[in-house]
């Protein structure tokens, strides 16, 4: 019964800010980000780790936050879409998404951005197939895949200058 759901105190750093909170043991990182921390930029869609809308960075690793229990994120560093802008300015990748027309309805975009940031961190000079493979876990029903790829490429090229 609900009353008996056990909670555990966890500490984690989200977008550079340390947070300590009691989380239900059955709640996912996605639940905690959206419902407890009110960071609603991370989106909820399939809940089975297939669509990528809930992608966040966990200790530098890309995860579907719907598949990570909140307790597993204890002591972790988490970056969400809200943490991508620097000093109130959108990141070059975010800007490239706008410039290249990679955003239509926008619902998948937080996940795409977090995944693409990680992809560039790991591989600063990706090829088109590497980008397509790297972002294959992030569905976009508006079909912006070409523009998303262009935005990632343009960001990599700009950074190389």
């Amino acid at each position: 019964m609900s009353e008996m759901i056990q909670t555990v105190l966890i500490e984690l750093t989200v977008n550079g800010r340390r947070r300590a909170l009691d989380v239900a043991v059955n709640h996912t990182l996605l639940d905690v980000l959206r419902d407890d921390l009110e960071l609603t930029g991370t989106k909820e869609c399939c809940l089975v780790g297939e669509c990528g809308a809930c992608t966040v960075s966990l200790d530098g690793r890309i995860v579907d936050s719907c598949l990570v229990l909140a307790v597993e994120a204890d002591r972790a560093q988490v970056t969400t879409v809200e943490g991508l802008a620097v000093d109130g300015h959108v990141s070059p990748l975010q800007q490239a998404f706008l410039d290249k027309g990679a955003v239509q309805c926008g619902f998948c975009i937080p996940g795409q951005l977090v995944a693409a940031h990680a992809l560039l961190a790991e591989n600063p000079h990706p090829t088109v197939p590497e980008i397509q493979e790297g972002l294959a876990g992030n569905l976009c029903r508006c079909g912006c895949y070409q523009q998303i790829t262009e935005a990632v490429l343009a960001t990599a090229e700009e950074a190389a200058r």
Binding site: E3, E44, V48, E50, G101, F107, R141, Q146
Partner: protein, 748 residues
């Protein structure tokens, strides 16, 4: 070119919120003291509900309400855009897999989910109908209660309606060659990445409702009717939907959450899972028999088309999908004699609704594929047969309908050029080409208010839902163009029926044309006031002053609008307010209730290679060319065009519901139902446009958001056939289906 103005591609208005995560979709809005709702469903396709015991569920701490049909006004209110047949919640019989039979509202999601599992429903599973053949069996049970359409002779069958269109006399028509085939189109779902979300809250002595909906004003009307409230007590908030594609056009569970909010006196919130969304909306599947008569020179002699569309348990807008989608079934061609019989057939499946293309892709798949059969049999090039039959500009190709409103041959030739039609191909590759046509909106009513503020900045009020198509950006561009403001000084207000004037709906690729014209007219109304101001300020005659595109032209000088506005408003400041209305009235004598405002016309050409070992279809090149009249924002046009094309690849290559023998959908959710990913793109995709400024929208624009989806399937299948010699008439062209077709050919 990147300018703020018309024909430029400024960054999306509202884009910043979308890349920073601050854009609030329905599920992101936090209402104080909100209750979470969870639906109770049964794991079968159809059932008689014997009893519902809520007592255990009500004991779960935090549960505030378990609602069943018994808790609603009796008889339980029904609603629907075509027929009021859908009950607020299942009554007596659950008619499709996923139809809610009860709903729990609790303080937490956990409590709501737990209680939903504890609602005890005693039910008898009943045999379900989930195919056209089963629905048409004379012994078939009736899906719908005949009392819901009393007086209709078809009420005692599962055929909801039969539409008969056409001209000439097909029975008497002769031809040198007749080709007849049956084509099937699968049941697919929208899969917007944002699952549907609904909230409601008591609002004074009225109700407020939040929904990711394309038609907020229709929702307002329906809620007012069901709840017995005046429109002015029903406030609908429609935050930008996270993808719509037609699936979010019509109200679904909003009446249920409204009753729950009124019953509890609290805000309530229901965010569907993706699985529940799959059970809420889908495209109408179809079986289409086409008999095409050809002359030996390839000209069309007749078309004889019978299309059976499988609708769901409730009509929703499916019958309109059938009539509007099948009416132009003969395509953009000159056809001397035509007969079209299209039926909407009820079944125990989720309600089928509008989906990008609106009934056209189903018949287009059949008719375009059959045209290829004729070309091959007659030894005529597949491009040539299309050009030979294509309606010329202004031609009355569907008698009594809007004449051909574009130079369609230009579009087809451009696609042929881009795919290098006729040039040699490597072994194992093939090409296909197909055209698609869709009627635009047949009626419409859009109002806009534009306010030119004292500093020259602008507020545009437009009731369109911006679900990704970029309406907000286009309206801002129109206002910037007409009033001379930089784009960054224009704000577009949407999504609240209490502050934004009425708009009929966001559908049929109408918004640039209809609301766009309303915005333009509102801006022109402001320009008229500026002209009066200028006449007063400069002692000039009004008739000698022209105000256009942000500039005031007097006989002896020119001013920016702002230069006239400031002195014109005087020391108190204030603002100028303009109203614009765009109306397309119904034409009762037209079979669709009105001629379309425009046609969407697209030509898609494909180069493909087929892996004969696996049946995998590799798209080497995908070309889409749309006649858009005028691209107000070329980048957004490309995005919509490519997006439609990629969505079309879904039903062409991979997407379809699968049912078990009891009518349950077996592939709910993202694991078992695959949509195109970044790995499924054609190796090369090219979107091009034809612009002749011949549309009815602002600056000659036409609607264009669906065209590139219409004829993907026939173009791909034609390329597969060209590569392998095998014709496949059932979608999707999965590797298994292609592999089997290749194997059957080699063994036969």
């Amino acid at each position: 070119m990147r300018t703020d103005r018309i024909g430029g591609s400024p960054n999306r208005v509202g884009g910043i919120g979308r890349v920073t995560g601050s854009q609030q979709y329905v599920a992101d809005i936090r209402l104080q003291d909100v209750l979470e709702v969870k639906l109770v469903t049964l794991d079968c396709a159809r059932a008689r509900i014997i009893s519902i015991d809520t007592s255990v569920a009500e004991q779960v701490p935090g549960v505030r309400l378990v609602m069943t049909a018994a808790d609603l006004p009796q008889p339980v209110p029904r609603f629907g855009p075509q027929l009021s047949d859908r009950p607020v919640i299942a009554v007596g019989e659950m008619k499709y897999h996923g139809e809610p039979v009860a709903a729990v509202a609790a303080e937490t999601k956990d409590a709501a989910e737990e209680a939903a599992r504890l609602v005890k429903v005693e039910y008898e599973e009943l045999p379900a109908i989930f195919s056209v053949a089963a629905a048409l069996d004379p012994e078939a049970v009736l899906v719908q209660d005949p009392a819901l359409r009393a007086g209709d002779p078809r009420a005692t069958t599962n055929v909801f309606r039969e539409h008969r269109f056409g001209w000439g006399d097909v029975a008497a028509a002769s031809a040198d060659l007749v080709i007849e085939n049956v084509y099937t189109f699968p049941m697919v779902t929208h899969f917007a990445i944002e699952p549907h979300g609904f909230m409601a809250a008591p609002d004074g002595d009225g109700i407020a409702c939040w929904s990711s909906i394309q038609h907020p004003y229709l929702l307002q009307k329906m809620l007012a009717k069901i709840l017995g409230l005046p429109l002015a007590r029903v406030r609908v908030f429609a935050p930008d939907p996270g993808g719509g594609f037609g699936g979010k056009q019509n109200p679904k569970l909003e009446p249920l959450v409204a009753f729950m909010a009124l019953r509890t006196g609290r805000p309530v919130r229901l965010i569907l899972t993706l699985e529940e969304t799959f059970q809420a909306v889908r495209r109408t599947s179809a079986e289409v028999r086409v008999r095409t008569g050809f002359r030996s020179d390839g000209t069309l002699a007749f078309q004889d088309i019978a299309a059976d569309y499988l609708a769901g348990a409730y009509v929703d807008i499916a019958d309109r999908v059938v009539s509007k989608g099948s009416y132009p079934a003969c395509g953009p061609y000159r056809v001397p004699d035509a007969r079209i019989v299209a039926r909407s057939i009820l079944s125990h499946t989720p309600p089928s609704t509008a989906f990008r293309g609106f009934g056209n892709p189903q018949v287009n798949w059949a008719v375009e594929s059959n045209l290829d059969e004729g070309a091959l049999a007659l030894g005529i090039d597949r491009l040539e047969i299309r050009l030979r039959n294509l309606a010329r500009p202004g031609e009355d190709f569907i008698p009594g309908d809007t004449p051909a409103d574009g130079d369609w041959g230009q579009t087809v030739r451009r696609a042929a050029e881009l795919i290098r039609w006729g040039s040699p191909l490597p072994e194992g590759r093939g090409r296909g080409i197909a055209v698609g046509i869709k009627s635009g909106p047949t009626t419409g009513l859009s109002y806009s208010t534009v306010r030119l503020l004292a500093d020259g900045s602008v507020l545009v009020y437009a009731g369109t839902s911006d679900m990704g198509q970029g309406a907000r950006t286009v309206y801002a561009q129109i206002a910037a163009e007409e009033l001379g403001a930089p784009l960054a000084w224009v704000t577009v207000v949407m999504g609240d029926t209490f502050s934004v004037p009425y708009d009929q709906q966001t559908s049929a690729s109408r918004s640039t044309v209809l609301m766009g014209n309303a915005v333009l007219r509102a801006c022109r109304a402001i320009q008229d006031q500026v002209r009066t101001m200028a006449a007063r300020l400069y002692g000039s005659d009004e008739s000698a002053i022209v105000v256009e595109r942000g500039v005031v032209r007097l006989p002896d000088r020119e001013h920016a609008i702002l230069e006239v506005l400031k002195p014109g408003l005087g020391p108190l400041g204030g603002e100028l307010i303009g109203n614009g209305e765009m109306r397309k009235d119904p034409e009762p004598d037209h079979p669709l209730g009105g001629r379309p405002a425009f046609f969407e016309f697209n030509c898609t050409a494909i180069e493909a290679e087929v892996d004969r070992e696996t049946g995998d279809v590799v798209l080497v090149r995908h070309v889409t060319v749309s006649d858009v009249g005028r691209a107000l924002n070329p980048l957004q046009v490309t995005m919509q065009d490519e997006g439609a094309a990629i969505q079309g690849l879904g039903h062409t290559l991979m997407e379809h519901y699968t049912f078990d023998e009891r009518g349950r959908i077996r592939n709910l959710g993202a694991i078992d139902y695959r949509i195109p990913t970044s790995m499924d793109l054609p190796l090369e995709m090219q979107s091009a446009i034809v612009e002749n400024a011949d549309g009815p929208g602002p600056y000659g624009s036409k609607g264009m958001s669906e065209g590139a989806l219409l004829c993907v399937a026939p173009a791909v299948a034609a390329a597969v056939r060209d590569a392998t010699g095998v014709a496949i008439r059932d979608l999707p062209l999965t590797p298994e289906r292609v592999w089997r077709a290749l194997r059957d050919r080699s063994t036969s």
